[in-house]
């Protein structure tokens, strides 16, 4: 059997220089640059300095607000808060108060721990099976869960309580709060056409960062109350600094979206 080939083309493409073809094909309306002015640069530096200074100077107040919000959320969800404890974070920063929550331990009910670990692994397996793009991340979390389960089973002494977790959590978060203004000022103030919007977004991200940290910490403590430290490394990984990165990206993508739309609308293209 010989296969022959016939080529049919629409009439408008039969001529090589048809008007339907363009010299250059641009898939988008690319511009040469965005203006980064001295005013924007100064406002970014000033905003970052003021926010960093505020966190450093008033960290005790921020920790107090964070703790109150966390306790309120825990009480709303019915998790018992047995008290509050003062913890050390870093030299140069004030002490912080974290809620004390009773935490389930492996020794008290090993079967429950095993069932929870298996359920967690099955849930993660189902997620990676359904969403191919999430496979790498979810398999990493599954490995983390498996390692945690083994460590807890072999070395029950490695388990820790809510206060220790609060200390680990706040150590990470306070660093994020201190660094966030620098990066968000660079990401928002420099690329926004109106500097005031950039400054507002930078401040907004900072406020959201503190609020969201309290929410995530309350969630982690609630999980600890029911399942001990089994899921804590996963939560610490997925809801810790990674979650900080995600909200920053969400804010950033929205800012760029708004900026790009506005810029191109202004150019009436």
């Amino acid at each position: 059997m010989t296969v022959s080939l016939k080529v049919r083309m629409p009439a408008f493409l039969a001529t090589p220089h048809s008007h339907m073809r363009r010299e250059f094909i641009y898939p988008h309306r690319s511009v040469r640059s965005f203006r980064v002015t001295v005013a924007k640069l100064l406002s970014a530096v000033f905003t970052a300095a003021v926010l960093c200074g505020s966190i450093a100077a008033y960290n005790a107040e921020f920790f107090t607000w964070h703790d109150r919000l966390c306790v309120t959320l825990l009480e709303w969800t019915g998790v018992p808060v047995t008290g509050e404890q003062t913890i050390e974070l870093f030299e140069g920063l004030s002490t912080a108060v974290v809620p004390a929550v009773p935490v389930a331990r492996f020794e008290s009910n090993p079967l429950r721990f095993v069932l929870l670990a298996v359920a967690g692994l099955l849930a993660l397996w189902a997620i990676q099976h359904r969403i191919a793009l999430s496979r790498g991340f979810v398999l990493f979390l599954a490995a983390l869960l498996l390692i945690t389960a083994c460590v807890v089973a072999i070395h029950p002494s490695s388990q820790f309580g809510a206060v220790e977790f609060g200390q680990i959590w706040l150590r990470g978060e306070v660093l994020v709060w201190l660094l966030l203004p620098v990066f968000s000022a660079a990401m928002f103030t420099l690329v926004q056409p109106i500097w005031l919007i950039g400054v507002t977004l930078t401040v907004l991200v900072q406020v959201f960062g503190i609020f969201w940290s309290a929410v995530r910490m309350a969630f982690c403590l609630a999980v600890m109350h029911y399942s001990g430290i089994l899921f804590v490394p996963i939560l610490w990984f997925a809801l810790g600094v990674l979650a900080d990165m995600i909200y920053l990206m969400v804010f950033y993508s929205m800012a760029v979206h708004w900026n790009a739309s506005r810029y191109w609308r202004r150019k009436a293209l």
């Binding site: 080529v7 250059f24 898939p27 511009v31 965005f34 995600i246």
Partner: protein
């Protein structure tokens, strides 16, 4: 236990140091690119320098896409006396050879090369075609690309500078509206070209020749020993051999050419695994010639090593995560670390990884891509998935090196164009693909029939 904690601390510090440097580089390039008032561009001289050019199109089982590319190339506005199109049927088992022969019969500018045996891989096909090419400049296109009419003029313009050994155009996915993965890869490509390549070109560093939508000066290619048929990334290999010998690579951001990005994760995984293996292989072979080159400035050398080592950041990142995990479970976790070290750690964890995403946003801003930029947070999954794929590929590569295997193998990237009967060119086909509102609606329709039917 003490040794384990010590090792974990060392690994973490190493990861912080390496990734912080990469993060800083990304931020610097993105901010610099945003603020360039006048990017280096060759638009002004396009069409004024028309060297004798050979367009090389290697194709291996490309029946779905071959005709579209060949038709687009023959419709180009380059002087017909100064151009030849070498369409290489590289051991195809489908109808690619027939399509090429048909085009060669209809258009004298196309020369069909049928390769039936020999070493596999794109570089081997290019090596064969280069021997038959008569052009001073060799331009390359992969089969899934759609060059515009002036593309050849745009890409040959930088060769008026005798120091330029290779040129690279901008790659833009046409199917970024088809799946989530394709949309995310569209963002990635924009960052890589609109921000990374352009910023590096403006800073006098080396934009990378990508092996398609680009070209190389034939004399420069001969001077560095031709194509490396053993390499999985012959483009990277050539880029760094050229710059080590004093040639420059030019980047033309306005020479935009459509390509097809993987729409399925399995295909993407194989593609990125091949890139990671080939790139890292180039690092091992070329780092000494690049760092010892007398033609390169120190910043150029540093940037070249950053580019060559970029895929190693994935295992380093995982190493950092594992070290964090060990420290999390160890008694060290409750000891108070110095504030500066802790700040560095947080900076690396949150913002080091963020830097690449900042680049994505910068590219979207410059391209006016207001809608797709909202997908940036979702790109985190792509980031993790790519990290896993790269780690797996590099593990296989290093195990292969230790055990003396035959080395990395070539994998052909699967094409997603549904057919070659023009569906992809029709406007309003409901697929929402970005190209179709921009691209002239044309169709190259093929009908295959048996003799008995005629």
């Amino acid at each position: 236990m003490t040794i384990l904690i010590l090792v974990a601390k060392g690994c973490l510090l190493f990861a912080i140091a390496v990734l912080a440097l990469y993060g800083l580089r990304h931020y610097t390039l993105a901010l610099y690119r945003l603020s360039i008032r006048r990017p280096r561009d060759m638009m002004e001289i396009t069409g004024y320098f028309l060297p004798r050019t050979s367009v090389l199109v290697p194709m291996h089982n490309e029946e779905k896409v071959a005709a579209d590319l060949l038709q687009a190339l023959v419709e180009g506005d380059y002087d017909r006396d100064r151009i030849e199109i070498l369409a290489i049927d590289d051991r195809s088992e489908d109808r690619t050879g027939e399509i090429i022969s048909d085009f060669a019969a209809r258009y004298p500018v196309i020369k069909a090369i049928h390769r039936r045996d020999g070493e596999g891989g794109k570089a081997a096909a290019l090596e064969l075609a280069t021997r038959q090419a008569s052009g001073e400049v060799l331009l390359l296109f992969d089969a899934d690309y759609f060059p515009g009419r002036a593309m050849v003029k745009q890409l040959t313009a930088p060769f008026c500078d005798p120091e330029v050994g290779a040129v690279m155009g901008r790659v833009v996915p046409h199917n970024s509206g088809s799946t989530l993965l394709a949309a995310l890869l569209g963002l990635e490509r924009a960052a890589g070209y609109q921000v990374g390549q352009q910023a590096r070109y403006n800073l006098g560093l080396t934009p990378q020749f990508g092996g398609t939508v680009g070209g190389v000066r034939a004399s420069a290619l001969r001077a560095v020993g031709g194509w490396n048929t053993k390499s999985l990334t012959e483009d990277t290999d050539l880029t760094f051999r050229l710059i080590a010998k004093g040639w420059k690579v030019a980047y033309v951001n306005r020479a935009e050419c459509y390509e097809e990005v993987p729409e399925a994760w399995e295909v993407r995984k194989r593609q990125i695994a091949r890139w990671a293996t080939g790139h890292t292989d180039c690092l091992h072979r070329l780092w000494s010639s690049v760092s010892g080159s007398k033609f390169l400035s120190r910043p150029e050398k540093v940037d070249a090593l950053f580019v060559l080592g970029c895929y190693l950041t994935a295992p380093i990142l995982v190493l950092g995560w594992l070290a964090s995990l060990v420290l999390f479970f160890s008694p060290e976790a409750s000891a108070v670390p110095p504030l500066l070290l802790a700040l560095a750690f947080a900076g690396y964890q949150v913002f080091g990884n963020q830097a690449t995403f900042f680049e994505l946003g910068a590219a979207a801003l410059l391209d006016g891509d207001a809608r797709r930029v909202l997908l940036i947070p979702v790109n985190l999954f792509n980031f993790f998935a790519s990290t896993a794929a790269i780690c797996g590929a590099l593990l296989r590569y290093y195990v292969g090196r230790v055990w003396g295997s035959r080395g990395p193998r070539w994998h052909k990237t699967k094409r997603f164009r549904e057919n070659s009967n023009g569906e992809q060119f029709r406007n309003g086909n409901g697929s929402g693909r970005g190209l179709f509102s921009q691209r002239p609606s044309g169709a190259y329709t093929y009908t295959f029939s048996t003799e008995s039917e005629q």
